[in-house]
Symmetry: C2
């Protein structure tokens, strides 16, 4: 199976390092152009040099040209998420679908903004669109729902889907202020220098929208919801909750008809209460098997790449 990989950041580099013999990278497109297969080995040997992808001269091929013209079986979209218009990924995906190519993505944009359109386009062309890496990084949630909970029947799901805010809340439980916790999250590389996307809940909202759509066959959209973030939670709130045997978590909840992302006070015995630091977890409430929870790494190049690879294996069979 041949993959055309768009993006060569943390996830792309990690994926390149773990691709099995059965799955070949036909080409990797960086923002500087496409790197075609003949020079890939050379490139991969040097991936320790993180500036490599920007300092080398690449074959002068625009990503859209590559999507349109190269020979491959599956387009792997590892470009950054864009919640404004989900471009240029949406165009890349449509082009791939029309060429009867599968799409595997870690980019959330097109799924959060127009899930129904992109899934229909895949279906109409008889190909698959898989997106395990878009939610909870290395924690399987979509393959889990598809293959492991069909007997149980999912009724609703709630989870911790943003590692940055969960790390901050965990730090605040040990007495740090919001500002101190944010600084530490930035120093650890969890939070961007502009942390709004995380702390205001927009990252978690994008994931919740994809979850709601995929689990309950909906077509709800990012723009139709407003998350509540953690910016107004103080260390005093957390300390008072702790005295009541409770803690604060930023929780995304989805079912057939509702979706919310907001901080919640939950008892310390709750399945999500002990999900600390940058871990993610999702609890599925089911008709036949009560609650089933899956917990894993919510981010990081290698765990996220492993979710991409799992989707590739699902296509490969």
């Amino acid at each position: 199976m041949k993959a055309l990989v768009l993006g060569f950041g943390h996830v792309g580099k990690a994926l390149a390092g773990i691709l099995p013999d059965a799955i070949e990278a036909a080409a990797i497109c960086t923002r500087n152009g496409a790197v075609l297969n003949p020079v890939l080995d050379e490139l991969l040997a040097e991936t320790d040099n993180r500036h490599l992808s920007h300092s080398r001269a690449f074959a002068a091929m625009d990503p859209l040209d590559a999507v349109q013209n190269l020979e491959y079986d599956v387009l792997v979209d590892l470009t950054p998420t864009n919640f404004s218009d989900a471009q240029p990924s949406t165009t890349y995906w449509r082009t791939a679908f029309e060429r009867k190519k599968h799409v595997v993505t870690a980019n959330k944009g097109p799924l959060a903004l127009h899930y129904g359109d992109v899934t229909s386009a895949a279906e109409e062309n008889g190909v698959r669109l898989l997106f395990e890496a878009t939610v909870a990084g290395g924690t399987p949630v979509f393959s889990f729902a598809r293959h492991c909970l069909k007997g149980a029947e999912i009724v609703s799901a709630e989870g911790i889907l943003n590692g940055t805010t969960n790390y901050m809340l965990t730090q605040m439980e040990s007495g740090k202020t919001y500002a101190e916790a944010l600084l530490e999250a930035q120093q650890k590389g969890y939070a961007e220098s502009d942390p709004a996307n995380d702390v205001q809940g927009f990252d978690a909202l994008g994931k919740a929208v994809i979850l709601a759509n995929a689990l309950f066959n909906q077509d709800t959209r990012y723009a139709d919801h407003m998350p509540q973030g953690i910016t107004e939670i103080t260390v005093e709130d957390i300390s008072a909750a702790s005295k009541r045997g409770e803690c604060f978590k930023l929780i995304a909840t989805v079912d057939e008809s509702t979706l919310s992302v907001k901080p919640q006070q939950i008892p310390k015995t709750h399945a999500l209460a002990n999900i600390g630091d940058a871990w993610n977890a999702l609890t599925f409430y089911t008709r036949h098997a009560d609650a089933v929870t899956v917990k894993g790494r919510g981010a990081g190049g290698l765990p996220t790449a492993s979710s991409v690879l799992n989707d590739l294996w699902e296509l490969h069979g």
Copy 2:
């Protein structure tokens, strides 16, 4: 798809109640004989009467006759586990495989005693042997490993696989003695009147053997291992551990070459530490995605039936 169901206890009755239209029970075999499809509806309508299956007159058909002669696609084995010789299930399975029928089982016996033989027999006949319900009840572990962690690559696994002992240890944490905790587990229906199988670790061992075989393609056998149970743990041990920030759990550990079932003292921050009462959980340590943990109901008719149904859906497609 037509299923021949052997056994009509808690799991069988629960399964009968949730079978979708796409999967038909061709017959259900109780210890009194086989109930063929024409009278199933009548039987199911009365399943609230738990003595029904023993008080009615059934068609006089021996289970082996049914396995040999009825028309079905998949044999569903819900008979009690027998760790002595794994009979009569082993004979039923072989017969079904020779007739090119799939087997879905909640019975652990044949898998714990001669995994290689039964999996080879299925393979040679071009049919599948699925056993999600044998380990951790309603918690997906085998479908999870097969479909969700192929990208992550499992290196080892450790888990809490026996609900009875976990319930007892949780009770002892709140100050109850071993004897009090055992009595309570019996009153709740978790422990049998002879609790040896649970408290001495044999139930968890049978599950660990199946896990080791399925995850790492081995053929290790129940008789080659000796578990350490919880019978020597006192409430004083637990209280002393608690003061050190630790707790006792009966943990099964498997990797490519080792297998153990024994009580372990783990820090309260450990992923398995907050798995209380009769819940089960399994943590997979992976090459690419760090630790991934799944938690769910370890027993109960309906959760276990949901795992059986999930296997049936996997065959149905």
